[in-house]
Subunit: 386 residues, 2 copies
């Protein structure tokens, strides 16, 4: 397999983008990525999107986006793994460049969620859960994660305030991210005082509905050198799946797919967890970030909530988590989220993170963890400054 | 890139499968493929499906299918390129094995179309066309292909009877395929006497709504030798896109994406068209098969209709097209169609085609052409007996 690097990143302001269409928002991020890489032609495009069909009545997403970014006639694929669609797009693009088939590939992600018609955003998102054994019976994602949170709190005696520390910390980071949907701080007590969504989860425990896109350019390390761009190498890629239905798993306070994806990525990279300087994880709900950091191995089971409350995952903590603001503050346009994570890691490794959220001490190795549904799929990548 | 072969094929009876669920039909085809290959564990799964979200309320298709075929925890991806989703799945699986990342990968395709809820199958299929510039204004796929047919007939003075020759020939082949949805012959005059769908296309010019799945197992040629299975090598893979909207193309009687995908596959394979012994093409409508055979280069522009009428594409013709019965007789479960084409080519190259439709003279090289929408994406593969 050839060595592959990220040489261009593109993002745009995420939020409720009523004045911009599905293809508009993708094109904005994609053209930013091309500009950043200094290339005007790509060999292939991979787009992560959860369900253009349900959100905006548009499938055939690869072809439409290839045309709208001025790259008509190239091969273009749309990939889906629910909220991990962006991470999957990055993985498929990595494989395509590593294989030798294509030299310059764009991995993008996009979702236009706010002007959904038909049965609405909650129905569209619920297609990531098990239609036969969960959704049909009325469960939604806030309900599933609430059950995980309730079990976790009982099992490990975790407190409401410990849970609140996750969104509090992510808004502290996101207020420094000019592309975030909610770039403002919240108070710790705001979380438990917010509207109850699914007990014990309140509104600020939950990531928002977002329109947004992100894109990155992958190429071989050899070509990257000629482009004279900072070379951020992809040294590990791991993916794993699990049962869709939460009740079919051995534990509801552990994410086996995240554990396996992390181990596979570390093995490929030849790294240990101690080598990782920062990580972007999938905090679709506050409890998700806690269980993910444990399943990746950063903290022992039951210690993730305490670690967040103690500041271990803060910008100046031992292992900074979600320096971008995470899904909570930055927004969660589901298909774009995994690519947004890569954008943040590349910025941090280049030393380009905005507004004082750049980590001190020149981070060298970053990790992303993107997951689908209640954890039925997970994609982990490890990037390193070359 | 490593040499890759198909070592297992699995299909099931396509049709209106009211008694079987989305995951049931995929599992049936997938387990048949595993049995055929003689393997019980795969490294990775790629599933082509156009829109599980709109048809059955289920996305996260890779993860759910990995679990239901007994392969929990593996990496699993769902890919989409409208009706070319199956061909795309095969291409992505090929790239993954060729890259060296995975040794044994299943490429599958599935669609459960008949028990669609919400806005119905026509709306779901229309998401393959341009939502902003076509669908919103009321055009559907029979309408788009009717415009292509009308223009073709006027431009080349093609006759109604020449168009009818395509479904007539495909039912002649499909009556010999035990897995076909409509395994019976039709009379040439049945086509023009059928219900008018979109002038000049009658009901028998159109492929049906189908529930179905297919799956194949890809591995390296080295591993294939150890499995002691017939080795059918993948020697060419080409993909191309075009504008989604038909009116934005230079010609409505030519499929540029098919032309480019074919050229790219032939170039990779180091073959000429004369080397191809048979081809499975995307006859979603009678006119589609005609324009596709021309765009691939088998016939000069305007000569495809005459060739079909003259029997050049029949089972005993110079270049047999759709020996399986094609989408018309075999059925068109959109995400599965591209994998179904691979299954037929592998059967023919192994000499295993059922009921007297096996080509004489031991065919050595076969081609598949799978396309999305009105041709905004096309995937071409070339397979050869090793």
């Amino acid at each position: 397999m050839r060595d592959v690097a990220v040489v261009g990143i593109g993002i745009m302001k995420w939020g409720e983008l009523w004045e911009k269409s599905f293809r508009d928002i993708f094109a904005e991020a994609a053209l930013n990525a091309l500009d950043d890489a200094g290339v005007d032609k790509i060999d292939s495009l991979i787009v992560g999107c959860m369900t253009g069909g349900l959100f905006v009545g548009q499938e055939h997403v690869g072809a439409v986006m290839a045309d709208y970014i001025g790259q008509k006639y190239i091969p273009a694929a749309h990939v889906e793994s629910a909220c991990a669609s962006g991470g999957l797009a990055f993985r498929q693009a990595y494989i395509e460049v590593a294989s030798g088939l294509s030299d310059i590939v764009m991995a993008g992600g996009v979702e236009k969620m706010t002007d959904v018609s038909g049965d609405g955003a909650t129905y569209a998102l619920a297609t990531a859960a098990d239609q036969d054994y969960e959704v049909f019976h009325g469960v939604t994602f806030p309900g599933l994660y609430a059950m995980m949170a309730r079990t976790y709190m009982k099992k490990y005696k975790a407190t409401r305030q410990q849970l609140s520390a996750v969104p509090f910390k992510n808004h502290q980071n996101g207020m420094k991210n000019p592309y975030a949907q909610y770039p403002f701080p919240i108070k710790l007590e705001d979380v438990e005082n917010g509207v109850l969504v699914a007990d014990p989860l309140h509104i600020l425990d939950c990531s928002p509905i977002t329109d947004g896109a992100a894109a990155v350019i992958l190429t071989t390390v050899d070509i990257a050198k000629k482009l004279k761009k900072p070379i951020i190498k992809i040294i590990g890629s791991g993916m794993a799946t699990d049962t869709l239905a939460l009740h079919q798993r051995e534990s509801t306070t552990w994410l086996k797919s995240t554990e396996l994806a992390g181990q596979r990525a570390l093995k490929m990279a030849g790294k240990k967890l101690d080598d990782i300087n920062l990580v972007e994880v999938h905090d679709c709900f506050s409890i998700a970030e806690i269980i993910v950091t444990e399943s990746l191995g950063f903290f022992k089971p039951g210690m993730g909530a305490k670690a967040a409350a103690d500041g271990v995952t803060a910008l100046d903590g031992k292992i900074p988590v979600n320096t971008s603001g995470g899904l909570k503050s930055k927004g969660h346009p589901v298909g774009a989220t995994g690519i947004g994570q890569i954008v943040e890691i590349v910025k941090q490794l280049r030393g380009e993170a905005e507004n004082g959220r750049q980590l001190k001490g020149s981070p060298k190795v970053g990790m992303t963890q993107n997951m689908g549904g209640s954890g039925a799929s997970a994609v982990v990548h490890i990037l390193e400054v070359a």
